[in-house]
């Protein structure tokens, strides 16, 4: 059971500056003000998240790691290609099993540290609490030492992990760490040497130092061992539960015994109590921050691995802040695919490409043909690329935007047709106000709440504004004529199986918008094509 991040870390005291694995600039912790990561933590969910189903993607990625509060990291896309490269390097480092095992092991160790600290605080008997607190310190020391040695054994190539390794090396050879570890180990040794004798009488317990008395339990076992048979012997026939209760808390008698053991061994227990008092804030803030930030990579890699096991590709895209010629091969909607993985459905991948002068995909065609999915895919790919993450495609070159703006039809709107159209225009206007020449814009089934004539008129206007602003985007629409409006517009039509027009292929093809293509296919299915009708009418 993990507790919320900040509370359990106990990171406080003098701010320390150290490397961050999420950003190139070193962070100052725990003061926070200068940390981009902390700033990101405050960032609210981007408006496009729901429309693009990125909220689902991020929820799936971060599931099980809630205690790390990773979600804010996913709310802060990068705009500099070198920042993206900085993260890609870390991903490449962690693609190595040995190195990832080191880092993941460190994460597990640190979780144990936090659990132990929480458990120590919950124990009522102080002598128990101190002991578990000591355990936490020892776990921490071995966690950091193992991280240091693990990184030395598997030297990372990324700027981020190289800097971190150097920091950890300095830290583990520093006085603060070495004295903490030495003192904790000394006390543990002293406690390990404690051995006491306990006599339980009718209503009294007596505690004294243990003497050299024979192990009569073992003697009993030896005496009766002669009866062991090959089938019945050795193991009891019915397996008994080894330990009845795993309650770490001492009961009244156990506490009384422990108190008396402490009196018999005052040195060991005195040192234990002093340790718990002196070492309240031993966790290094940079190490603790690393523990949290690196989870961003580990959890993303686990997410990606689930797709790769099912044969779905993920790749590290090349990103550019200048070149708007974007392309992807075998791209898909990660949120949709993840649901299909669980249900065993097959996922349809699509290629897309905008050549140098092209800017906007206009997608038309049959309903339920994969148009919206394509729009989301386009958005997800760009957004995930800007996080420095791998993207759901076999291969991709993507543009590094300043913002992703979306306009999806709001289905639950119960206002009048006129009110709805008005509202839609207002939203679209606001969107156009915010767009810059670096924006990605995704419009889905806009302008449905009016006549097609009006819609076409407004659509042309909006499209030319978007082209004027040189945005990159996708427009899913029923307004066919938008598709042929400008050389910068690419028309995509969602495909239908020619053999069985009722079946959608969910594949999008570059071709002129032609609303009738689909209708003719259906007509053929019902034998209502010209030739079919002639033939049928003849007979």
């Amino acid at each position: 059971m993990l507790l919320p991040w900040a509370e359990t870390m106990g990171v406080e005291g003098v701010p320390v500056t150290g490397p961050s694995v999420l950003q190139r600039r070193p962070v100052e912790v725990p003061s926070g003000a200068a940390s981009d990561a902390v700033a990101a933590a405050a960032a609210a969910e981007p408006a496009c998240f729901t429309d693009l189903h990125l909220d689902q993607v991020v929820a799936t990625i971060t599931a099980g790691r809630e205690a790390y509060e990773l979600t804010p990291f996913f709310h802060a896309p990068l705009t500099d290609p070198d920042d993206v490269a900085y993260r890609h390097e870390v991903f490449f480092d962690l693609a190595d099993d040995a190195r990832r095992t080191v880092i993941a092991g460190f994460g597990r160790d640190m979780r144990l540290v936090r659990e132990q600290r929480a458990r120590a605080a919950a124990l009522l008997d102080p002598r128990q609490g101190w002991r578990v607190y000591l355990d936490a310190a020892l776990t921490y020391c071995s966690a950091v030492s193992r991280l240091a040695s693990g990184l030395a054994e598997h030297p990372p190539g990324s700027r981020a992990l190289r800097a971190l390794a150097a920091y950890v090396d300095r830290y583990t050879s520093g006085a603060a760490f070495t004295s903490l570890r030495a003192e904790a180990m000394r006390i543990e040794g002293a406690l390990d040497d404690v051995r006491y004798e306990l006599t339980v009488e009718q209503d009294r317990v007596v505690v004294r130092r243990a003497s050299e008395a024979p192990d009569d339990g073992a003697a009993i076992a030896r005496t009766f061992a002669r009866f062991s048979g090959e089938r019945f012997g050795g193991e009891p026939r019915r397996r008994r539960r080894e330990s009845r209760r795993d309650d770490p808390a001492a009961n009244q008698i156990e506490s009384a015994v422990l108190e008396r053991v402490a009196r018999l061994y005052p040195d060991a227990f005195g040192a234990l109590e002093a340790f718990a008092g002196h070492y309240q804030t031993y966790l290094d803030p940079v190490v603790a921050t690393f523990d949290r930030e690196v989870q961003f990579y580990l959890t993303t890699l686990e997410y990606v691995a689930r797709f790769e096991r099912a044969g779905l590709p993920f790749c590290y895209p090349s990103v550019s802040a200048d070149d708007k010629a974007v392309r992807a091969r075998d791209a898909y909607d990660a949120a949709l695919a993840h649901g299909l993985l669980a249900g065993g459905g097959s996922v349809v991948c699509n290629d897309f490409e905008l050549r140098p002068q092209e800017r906007i995909f206009v997608v038309t065609g049959a309903n339920q043909g994969g148009k919206t999915t394509f729009a989301r895919t386009f958005g997800q790919l760009h957004y995930l690329a800007a996080l420095g993450c791998p993207v759901p495609a076999r291969e991709a070159s993507l543009y590094l935007f300043d913002q992703v703006l979306t306009h999806f039809e709001q289905e639950e709107d119960v206002r009048t047709l006129r009110g709805k159209f008005q509202d839609e225009l207002m939203r679209m206007h606001a969107l156009l106000e915010h767009t810059t020449d670096r924006s990605v814009v995704i419009l889905n089934e806009a302008l449905t709440a009016t006549t097609s004539h009006d819609a076409a008129l407004v659509g042309r206007q909006v499209l030319s504004r978007l082209l004027e602003q040189d945005v990159l985007g996708v427009w899913v629409t029923f307004i066919d004529e938008l598709a042929g409006l400008d050389p910068a517009v690419v028309s995509l039509v969602c495909g239908v199986d020619p053999e069985d027009p009722a079946r959608r292929t969910f594949e999008l093809r570059r071709r002129p918008a032609d609303g009738r293509a689909h209708a003719i296919a259906i007509a053929r299915a019902h034998q209502l094509t010209y030739a079919e009708l002639r033939r049928r009418l003849r007979s």
Binding site: A213, F224, F227, R260
Partner: protein
């Protein structure tokens, strides 16, 4: 430490799964009649005997190992019964000491196991006395080694040591353990120490002369207010915790001692069963003998005075027996009159084989036979009487299940198999199956009315096949003896008709029967089943 009276190298499996063909063998050979006679009302004997019969030994040394014990038991029946009774009494006494419900908490487990072990301790002493007294009188390896084991492992020192530990577990001076500090400073590595024998003496001395006390280790005590219910419960928890390790040890020890006596009881049950059977058949005037197992199964087979013990037991009279001349034919075809003793003969062969391979006495004056790899029966079922394809299907399914398990060297007893169809088809099936299995090294005894099959076999391979025929005197009376003889064309159903209807002149019959003439006293001496 296990008796090992049934196998030289392992325990007898009293709870394992029976072979798949077990139920069929029990039914076809009427094993329960045999085991009931062995049991003489003791259900345990019947169970063990059945298991021993259904798990035939194939190793000649293993058979000889049991036969030697049987010989000992026949020579000293009282000793055998006394050893069995001792094991029975030991387990009964332990069960009396047992609680109604198995306790679950360590402190209770310790008390329970201690009481049970104290009860067993008495029986161990009795066993030791028996070994001292009778150990010299046995000739078999199994019993000699067993008694030596008892005298070595249960010497006076060992018995005293057991008693000392069990008495110490009464904890009259409190439970004394030592421990270290484990996770969260809870006790770990808990070690039990018996109470100091002189504790009370010391206490008195100290009271009398206080300076003694200073020499002892410092001690801190905690006195519980008896009214503090939570404290009392906490103290119980502590007791359970510190006794957890020793409770496992003791539970294991009591299970092991129980395992020893259960094994002794099971294994002696088998031999007492053999004694009972030999005595009972002797009372009926039927001979029993220890057979002579020979290598090379199926190999030659030779018997004198072979009979079906189950028939003798259920009819409560001396049996009709048969001699089987030495022969190694891989196929024995038995034909002849209905109710002429064919099935009885088949059973007597199967039972003798099973009893031989269980290491028991057999129902014959003498028997010399190899140990088969497996013994299988395929008997006509009552419900097979109607000739429908469903029946044949069922019959062949049973056959197929047997074939799954057949190995070279097995013995297969077929009793009116493949009769659930017309004779031509039945014969054809029989030919193919019998050819295949005999050529695979399986010996087949086939009681059959499939004339076509039997005749063709006779014409083809009279030398390699033994043909036996249920004897029928010229006057039509059955002797229930089998004689070598070529298959005849009819099965003398007419005889039976006449015997039952008592009417010779009914106008029904064939030429052969007419020639036989009337039979006034053609009733069989007893009714074979």
């Amino acid at each position: 430490m296990r008796p090992r009276l049934l196998h030289p190298d392992r325990e007898f499996d009293t709870h394992g799964r029976l072979p798949r063909q077990a139920a069929t063998l029990v039914q076809d050979l009427e094993l329960s009649t045999l085991t009931a006679a062995m049991a003489r009302g003791d259900k345990r004997i019947a169970d063990i005997a059945q298991r021993a019969l259904l798990a035939p030994l194939t190793d000649l040394d293993a058979i000889a190992y049991r036969q030697a014990v049987v010989r000992d038991c026949l020579a000293h029946p009282n000793d055998a019964r006394a050893l069995y009774a001792l094991a029975v009494a030991a387990i009964e006494r332990a069960e009396q000491a047992s609680w109604a419900f198995m306790p679950r908490k360590p402190a209770s487990i310790v008390r329970h196991a201690r009481d049970v072990l104290l009860a067993y301790l008495e029986s161990l002493r009795a066993l030791r006395r028996l070994a001292d007294r009778r150990g010299e009188h046995v000739a078999s390896d199994a019993l000699r080694v067993f008694f030596e084991l008892i005298r070595r492992e249960l010497d006076d020192a060992a018995l005293r040591e057991m008693e000392r530990h069990l008495r110490a577990l009464r904890f009259t001076a409190g439970i004394r353990v030592s421990a270290g500090l484990g996770p969260a400073n809870k006790a770990r590595d808990i070690v039990l120490h018996h109470g100091r024998a002189r504790a009370r003496v010391w206490t008195r001395l100290e009271r009398w002369w206080p300076p003694l006390r200073r020499r002892r280790e410092p001690a801190f005590s905690y006195q519980l207010d008896p009214a503090d219910e939570n404290g009392v419960r906490a103290l119980d928890e502590v007791r359970d915790r510190i006794l957890e390790g020793v409770s496992v040890t003791l539970a294991q020890a009591s299970e092991q001692v129980a395992g020893f006596f259960h094994a002794l009881r099971s294994e002696m049950a088998f031999y007492v069963g053999c004694l009972n059977l030999a005595e009972r058949l002797g009372e009926l005037g039927a001979a029993t003998c220890l057979p002579e197992p020979v290598a090379d199964a199926p190999g030659p087979w030779q018997a004198q005075g072979l009979y079906d013990p189950c028939l003798a037991l259920s009819a409560d009279q001396p049996p009709v027996d048969n001699d089987v001349a030495p022969q190694a034919a891989s196929l024995v075809i038995v034909t002849g009159a209905n109710q002429g003793g064919k099935t009885t003969f088949l059973r007597s062969v199967g039972l003798a084989q099973l009893m031989l391979q269980a290491g028991m006495v057999v129902a014959a004056r003498s028997l010399r036979a190899g140990a088969c790899a497996g013994i299988f029966t395929h008997f006509k079922r009552e419900e097979d009487a109607s000739m429908t394809s469903g029946k044949l299907d069922e019959e062949l399914a049973r056959m197929s299940a047997i074939v799954d398990e057949l190995r070279p060297g097995s013995l297969l007893l077929l009793n009116e198999s493949f009769a659930a169809t017309n004779e031509r088809e039945g014969s054809e099936i029989a030919h193919q199956i019998v050819d295949a299995v005999t050529e695979s090294g399986v010996r087949v005894y086939f009681v059959t009315h499939l004339d076509d099959f039997a005749r063709r076999r006779y014409e083809r391979d009279a030398a390699g096949t033994l043909f036996l025929r249920a004897e029928r005197r010229p006057d039509g009376e059955r002797t229930f003896k089998l004689r070598p003889g070529a298959p005849e064309r009819t099965s003398h159903g007419m005889d039976l008709y006449r015997a039952i209807f008592g009417d010779a002149d009914d106008g029904v019959g064939d030429a052969e029967d007419e020639a036989a003439g009337p039979t006034a006293d053609a009733h069989p001496p007893h009714t074979p089943t």
